[in-house]
Symmetry: C2
Subunit: 182 residues, 2 copies
Amino acid sequence: MPRRYDPDRRQRIIDAAIRVVGQKGLAGLSHRTVAAEADVPLGSTTYHFTTLDDLMVAALRQANEGFAQLVAARGALTDPHTDLAAELAALMGEWLAGDRTGVELEYELYLAALRRPPLRPVAAEWAKDLADLLAPRTDPTTARALVALMDGICLQVLLTDVPYDEGYAREALGRLIPPASP
Amino acid sequence: MPRRYDPDRRQRIIDAAIRVVGQKGLAGLSHRTVAAEADVPLGSTTYHFTTLDDLMVAALRQANEGFAQLVAARGALTDPHTDLAAELAALMGEWLAGDRTGVELEYELYLAALRRPPLRPVAAEWAKDLADLLAPRTDPTTARALVALMDGICLQVLLTDVPYDEGYAREALGRLIPPASP
DNA sequence: ATCCCATGTGTACGAGCGTACATATCGGAG
DNA sequence: CTCCGATATGTACGCTCGTACACATGGGAT
């Protein structure tokens, strides 16, 4: 029995959990599947994350950070001279492009919060962080509505097979933003 | 072994499934839990619904009909002389009031479609039906956006502990509706 | 240098699951 | 009246799951 002293094991388990959820869905997440994916014994996953909820919280938190990085990379979002609606629509386009593993994972964990109280604060935090980021460009209420509409549009794209229409998103988001008072 | 000839058994199983999901969540749904709730033997649930997906489709379809009735009861939605945004906001208020078992069930099944392809058409149908109903009051694109925003607002209310704010919903929905051209 | 405890490992148990299937029943078609 | 196929029932198999626990190990505090 080799392999001892594995300092980043906890992190590797979280990464494995994210891969598992991305590939097999939240229903396919178990201590065992994660252990297999992370190539660690079963006891190791139960040691670091007593409850599956614990593991989900860690995974959702990490997924949130990934999204936050995507947002941060798009610095134009906070630049008051850009078209906010267009920037948000483009952000969604970028997020929804390519394989949607990341988006699906984010939403699946996000929505799991509906039934799993421990996830609720993390899910709420995601919405709040994005709204807080947007608030300076408009106002807190509008920011909340923008986040809600983005959620709804993403959901429609994920649940129906309608492809993402950036022009439509930009138009709809734009209507939510009250005209500037120069 | 009494109890033979039970004509509405299929329907009773669907009702039981809805109660199970409402009480224990989608994760608590199994052939056995439904059988227990409907007070029928295990073999009966597997006979009428070979796959759990089959059962979920039936349950989601029924939940959709329940929502459709709620909408139909609010005839003012199709009356062009009413304030559409206000009507929609009031509809959401009514739906989210009281115990949220119905809403949670609807969304949980709705969102399960993310990973269960058989559910997708039923979920898409829900969004489409509502959008089709709203389209005559504005235009198809605006109707889609209204549905998306409603989805997003409901989700925010369900996932965070922020109470439903009808005034906010009305204001946001109103902004999506382009001014009438008299 | 010593020792302790956080960390890592292997195994076992009982419960619940989907599924399959042999058998029983009986409404309604003929 | 007869009979057939849709419906109903009970049981069993093999699997995965969460959980618990006894034991091994070695990094770092002392």
